[in-house]
């Protein structure tokens, strides 16, 4: 007797509607646009301006905005607009490196903590909690005072303090996934731990993590700006929004434009990534399940 061919009904896949849903949210789209602008500004900086960021021109010292200096010039006559553009590079470079490394570290350690033996988990949690008990800025100040200011140090500090946060989230997700039926099914086939992590756990934990990471970008950028503002980040004469703000602060009586130039991109970055990230989160939120 032949086995009947099963029905051919299909449920609607979730992926395509998520994409469409994102573009229906005005704030999300607005955020995405801002992010795109920032990225383009960083990439095409040399083409968007005739000046170089560090060219000193004392004649133009502290000039207000004009047709030659769209946002004015700083105390050494350097074009502020150009410096802002190149500052975008610094900001995004810090964001890209630190978030990527933190993600990598967080993923690896989190999955190991969540899936591995209890004692390893306890050990890792202990380390995470120890690191997290230092406020990021304090740790940054301490390390950088010892090693001297540099962009790479900033990145390192951010990575060290972010890994425990990401790892904890990955760990929790992993632990709950570990009891899921598809993991049990994979174990029943004989799947080893490495394959399990790579094939089954990783794809399921990475989604929320990426969304979190995108919301972390403005935080990281702000930390860099803050450290640079204090003189503990990039070394002069490199342009960074933080150093522009520092200059703006020092010369606020001469011109408000430096402060504006340093602050506005920070605000836009925060808004852009936050809106985008929140919309992403809403779109992928599993509690949007429909009732049957």
């Amino acid at each position: 007797m032949s086995v009947p061919i099963s029905d051919t009904s299909v449920q609607k896949p979730a992926g395509s509607t998520a994409y469409r849903q994102f573009f229906r949210e005005p704030l999300g789209v607005f955020g995405l646009v801002l992010v795109v602008i920032l990225v383009l500004a960083a990439i095409f900086a040399p083409y968007l301006t005739d000046y170089a960021p560090n060219t000193i021109d004392i004649k133009s010292r502290l000039l207000p905005p004009s047709s030659e200096h769209w946002v004015g010039a700083d105390q050494l006559g350097r074009d502020t607009f150009t410096r802002v553009l190149y500052g975008t590079r610094v900001a995004l470079k810090v964001a890209a490196w630190s978030i990527s490394l933190a993600l990598l570290g967080g993923l690896l350690l989190g999955m190991i903590a969540g899936y591995g033996p209890r004692w390893l988990d306890n050990l890792l949690i202990l380390i995470f909690d120890a690191v997290r008990s230092f406020p990021t800025i304090m740790l940054a100040l301490a390390i950088i005072t010892l090693t001297g200011p540099s962009l790479n140090m900033v990145i390192l500090v951010i990575v060290i303090t972010s890994i425990p946060v990401y790892a904890r989230i990955v760990r929790t997700q992993t632990m709950s996934l570990r009891e899921n039926e598809f993991v049990l099914a994979a174990r029943s086939i004989g799947t080893g731990w490495l394959r399990m992590l790579y094939l089954h756990i990783l794809p399921n934990v990475i989604g929320p993590l990426l969304i979190l990471a995108s919301m972390d970008i403005p935080v990281v950028v702000t930390i860099e700006s803050g450290l640079s503002f204090l003189g503990l980040g990039v070394r002069p004469p490199t342009a960074s929004w933080g150093t522009i703000l520092a200059d703006g602060y020092a010369y606020v009586r001469n011109t408000p434009w430096l402060l504006v130039a340093g602050g506005v991109p920070l605000i836009l970055t925060t808004l852009g990534f936050t809106f985008m990230g929140e919309t992403l989160r809403d779109v992928f939120d599993p509690t949007l399940k429909r009732r049957d």
């Binding site: 896949p13 099914a185 799947t191």
Partner: protein
């Protein structure tokens, strides 16, 4: 005929509390016995149904055969290999011959992988090269159209997902498939599809099944033998038809009598069994079923019965079996 699977005096315990919590709560024994002293055999080409209610331990027993849970005592012999105490690496080769179908057909499939990837997974895990239309062959065996191979689990209906589960379980031509609640969530009008499929495959490929279920009416029609569990112990096992006709253990009798019959003339006035299943942490003394037993006698409250065997192959754990 040599047994395919022979389980002897199996015991599986779980830790309910950490030692410290047990100390604080003044609990002497922080362990609970999910499976206690279970002996069971499955022959080749045979279907055995493992029946019980919540807390009976049937799912734990199924999982311990395939190594998802490790027993503390007893033995599980699969063909000539002793499974208890086997290392994880050694268990891997056992998992070519024993596979499992899980209760929730969609949840037991990896969300982000296509049907084809999931059916080929057993081959990849064991390093066995897949022939060109191996997955097509499997799809055909389970009655699924080949184009479903490109679909993802959330794009399948419950029935289709179940068939994919069967296909995956069949991939390496196992000798024994453990099916955990194969009819859960299925409408009565389609339950038969999956069970007929399983029977068909048994006839074609000679597979044995251990069907774990609480769906009693269906058990009668699909299994050769049935084993009834209560609080982790096997209280009765034997030929399905004889047990359904004349159950020997009072619990089996109560269980069978409790099933509501789709016939208004067969309404029951009395409840077949009072009370609820006791917690695994507070096992009654003597025969663990005695507080709820309609036939209990004085001895039952302090003397735990051993399993008695009968000439027809039946075994019952009761001092005063009804048959």
């Amino acid at each position: 005929m040599a047994d395919l699977l022979k389980i002897t005096n199996l015991g599986v315990r779980f830790r309910a509390l950490s030692s410290f919590a047990a100390l604080l709560q003044n609990v002497r024994d922080p362990w609970i016995d999910a499976v206690l002293d279970v002996s069971l055999r499955i022959a080749p080409r045979e279907t055995v149904a493992l029946v019980g209610e919540s807390g009976s331990g049937k799912t734990t027993l199924g999982r311990s055969i395939i190594g998802l849970v490790r027993p503390q005592n007893g033995s599980i012999q699969f063909e000539d290999t002793e499974l208890c105490g086997l290392s994880e690496a050694a268990y891997k080769s056992v998992r070519r011959d024993v596979s499992m179908m899980f209760q929730d057909p969609v949840a037991s499939l990896s969300r982000r992988r296509s049907v084809q990837a999931q059916i080929s997974e057993p081959f990849k895990v064991h390093g066995i090269p897949i022939k060109d239309n191996e997955t097509d062959r499997l799809m055909e065996l389970v009655g699924l159209n080949s184009f479903f191979q490109q679909r993802f689990p959330h794009e399948l209906s419950g029935g289709q997902a179940r068939r994919v589960g069967v296909a995956r379980a069949l991939a390496l031509s196992p000798k024994l498939i453990i099916a955990d609640e194969p009819t859960a969530g299925l409408d009565v009008s389609v339950q038969g599809e999956i069970l007929n499929l399983m029977r068909d495959l048994q006839q074609k490929l000679g597979i044995s099944y251990l069907i774990i279920t609480h769906n009693l009416p269906v058990v009668q029609h699909v299994s050769d033998r049935i084993a009834v569990m209560y609080l982790g112990r096997l209280v009765e096992q034997g030929d399905t038809h004889s047990i359904f006709k004349r159950p020997a253990h009072p619990y089996t009798k109560a269980l069978l009598a409790a099933v509501p019959q789709p016939d208004p003339a067969k309404r029951r006035e009395l409840v077949s069994i009072e009370g609820e299943v006791p917690s695994l942490r507070e096992r009654p003394a003597g025969c663990e079923f005695h507080p709820r037993c309609a036939h209990k006698q004085e001895r039952c409250s302090w003397d735990p019965p051993k399993s008695q065997s009968f000439p027809d192959g039946r075994s019952v754990r009761c001092h005063f079996p009804l048959v």
